[in-house]
Amino acid sequence: MITARVDYIKYAALGLMAAAATPANAQVGTETTSYTLFGAPGLILMPTAEVAADSELAFSYSQFGPNANGTLTFQILPRLSGSFRYTKLANFWNVGPLTGQDFFDRSFDLEYRVLNETKYLPAVSVGIRDFIGTGVYSGEYVVATKGFGDKLRVHGGLGWGRLASHNPIGQIGGPRPAFDVGQGGNLNFSQWFRGDFAPFAGVSYKVNDKLTFKAEYSSDAFVEEVARGTMEYNSPFNFGIDYQISPAFHLNASYVAGSMFGAGLTIRLNPRQPQARSGNEKAPLPVKPRPSRADSAAWGSDWVTSSENHNDIRKVVSDALGKQGIRLKALGLGATQAAIRIDNKRFNSQPQAVGRTARILTHALPPSIEIFKITITQNGIPLSTVTMRRSDIEDLEHAPALDIYNRVTIGEAAPTAVKNAELPNFDQRFSWALTPYMAISFFDPSSPVRGDVGLRFSAKYEIAPNIILSGAVQKSIWGNLDDDTHLNTSDLPHVRTDGALYAQQGDPAIEHLTASWYERPGKNLYSRVTVGYLEKMFGGVSAELLWKPVDSPLAIGAEVAWVKQRDYDQLFGFRDYDVVTGHVSAYYDFGNGFSTRVDAGRYLAGDYGATFSVDRTFANGWKVGGYFTKTNVSAEEFGEGSFDKGIRISIPFEWAMGTPSKSESGAELRSLERDGGARLQVDGRLFDWVEDGHGDAYADRWGKFWR
């Protein structure tokens, strides 16, 4: 079978030239590593026109007076940053039923660099703080920053909203219009840059690489806090220092409003700055060249007629691959060609797994075999095939990886699932694990973080490589997920808001118990059917079909499920509620590091709508993205937050550890999970793992082919 050659040159050029073409070169200057108490680059409380390094992700926690902030800030583009913040204002409520209680709030900020610093002119940025939500911090600003030498920077700007609460000097368009926060979660667009404005200013002095002094004249008078008697405001001047303990960790301390000490910790991570040197894994097996052609006995193909030879070779290859964390799924041998199917369990870079497989084949296969066809599979499903000439492997072992890239073809794999009869390691189909687990629930209005830790027993049995039984049982050891005494007032079917009941009654719980069947119905097509207890709260049947050509930036999927809500005890029973839910999804990779996805359909509560998401992805596997879901549920029906939205981050272990690993650590911060716009959770959704074995997975990580 000849696989059509796929032209990957555009990707290759992108991968190779990354050093020159990525935003590393599009840097906008006037960067800082120092963050405010609100967790964005800047002074103490006031913003500056400084930016963080492109793609920097900063987690920070700070406290001053009654005010505590946990913030996540991402430098989305060299000029654009976004922050997500969770705030506690202690003892905020001084009247009404909540008297004496704390106030918790979430807020989002954006800042955009309009002008870059030049020899004579400052950098200028525009920002909006707390622009969706309940608006405690709402304020807008325009700010300029000018450096004098390498160490001193002077900052000054004008603020609106909260940033005009001290000594305003003018007004735009009359008083700032009121904003009806409703359930929160709406843009306060009508308020932006309206009403009073006030000046603010500051200086920062970088003593050395580790230490920075800052001072500012703040335009935030803490009106609300002072009125509620939770803090004292004596002065608009704030003073702070920022100390870099290590490139990733910063501590800051400050004196705020002439009355309070503040302190904070910032952790800075950047996909471009791996925590560990990469390539600590052991050297690969060197390629073994074949003997000279003159040795006609060695080059004969008589071996092919003996099935004993085939079995021996299969065993050798299976053992050698096993040591590399690669599972041999099938090996078909002809006189001049070998077709091998592998399941890469270790390498974050598929090309690295393919390269190591090719090296092993040069040792194990008779010289008459010239063509290697290496197919990456997952869940028994072939994803793509790399076809190469053994002579090229021999010739180019020590050449740059691009040379061999230009010689191989990467194409769609033949659409047939791996069969039991092909498996060389038939006895490895059962696996189990006993592991600790941790579940965290964020942003409950009365207690921002709840958790649960316990033990999880999981097991998996492959009836066939593509038909998999899977189950997990978990038992909580300690947790307070079930402490939630919040009255559930949701008017929608309680598809997600009964989480506390599930936590109270489901211990031990059957986390999932499913049978999944994966298939290739045809060219460019992938399918999945899953039956059983699909997730904590729902069981039933889910079916999915994905169209995804191996080198296409576009993929389309459709999914439909009939599910019934599970009993709170999470054993075998069901409650009365059932629903037909499903989505049509489109996935598009812009090729510049951004990808998007739209899912439109019917959600668990029977509501109709769509989810939009955008991710910034990096070749090494980092992903940072956000999403929101709008359905025909009104903001009032939805409850706090008005609609579902969130941020997700995925960090590959390889980046953190320096040794190969396919694992990644993912986190999702959603504003507050309610019943509207809720999706079924089911393991093995097609796009996630099919993409992993397709075009970009090769092109972006090809540099490790010979690693």
Binding site: A19, G279, K282, E397, A399
Partner: protein, 210 residues
């Protein structure tokens, strides 16, 4: 083949699991293999195998590896250490590394190899290939000049031969290094100090038996 190699490596591993801390060598032109009690190390290494063996010292840390050939492909020979590092040479000139972390992934150094092994002055470019922080291939092109700078007798282990000293100076912008090679009359590099990359620095390589 691979099994035999693995067995061999395991064996040398037992004998040579040595990480030696010693006096820090200054600069890349310093005498290589400056480890404490080198004689004990050398005799240990020599007794571990009957074939070719060399001692490789990372100059920045003084970490020591004993290495022996594990693969041969045309003019390239790959040497391996018991813990799993690999270094490939093109006729004695370092061509790539594996398992050191921040490895030199590949290089184009044909001109350099020809000039160094023939002991003749020359000017040329070297191309080095590394993996960038996002895993992408990055290319570093360096301008180099190779000059003969005297001769010396090299007596270490089972090596006892006259050698000419070749000094290779390379530069690209802020990046510069000097490699030194002791080359015998047949073009064998008996010992050398060779640069891997910015993060690893240079390796001192001392053959004990050719």
């Amino acid at each position: 083949m691979s099994l035999a190699t693995a067995g061999f490596l395991k064996q040398t591993g037992k004998n040579l699991k040595s990480k030696v801390i010693g006096g820090k060598s200054k600069g890349t032109t310093a005498q290589p293999a400056a480890a404490p009690d080198p004689n004990a190390l050398i005799s240990k290494a020599l007794s571990a195998t009957k074939g070719p063996i060399s001692i490789v010292v990372r100059l920045d840390t003084n970490a020591v590896l004993a290495m022996s050939p594990v693969g041969r492909n045309g003019s390239y020979v790959t040497w391996g250490s018991a813990p799993g590092q690999g270094v490939t040479y093109q006729r004695g000139v370092l061509a790539n590394t594996r398992g050191l972390g921040s490895d030199l992934m590949a290089s184009r150094i044909d001109r350099a190899v020809m000039a160094i092994t023939s002991g003749s002055d020359a000017d040329y470019t070297r191309k080095h290939y590394y993996l960038g922080d996002l895993g992408q291939t990055t290319e570093l092109t360096l301008r180099c000049s190779l000059r003969r700078s005297g001769s010396e007798k090299v007596i270490v282990g089972e090596i006892n031969a006259d050698a000419v000293i070749m000094k290779e100076k390379c530069r690209k912008g802020q990046i510069s290094f000097t490699n030194v090679y002791w080359v015998d009359s047949s073009g064998n590099i008996l010992k050398s100090s060779q640069w891997v990359g910015q993060r690893i620095g240079s390796l001192a390589i001392q053959s004990l038996r050719l």
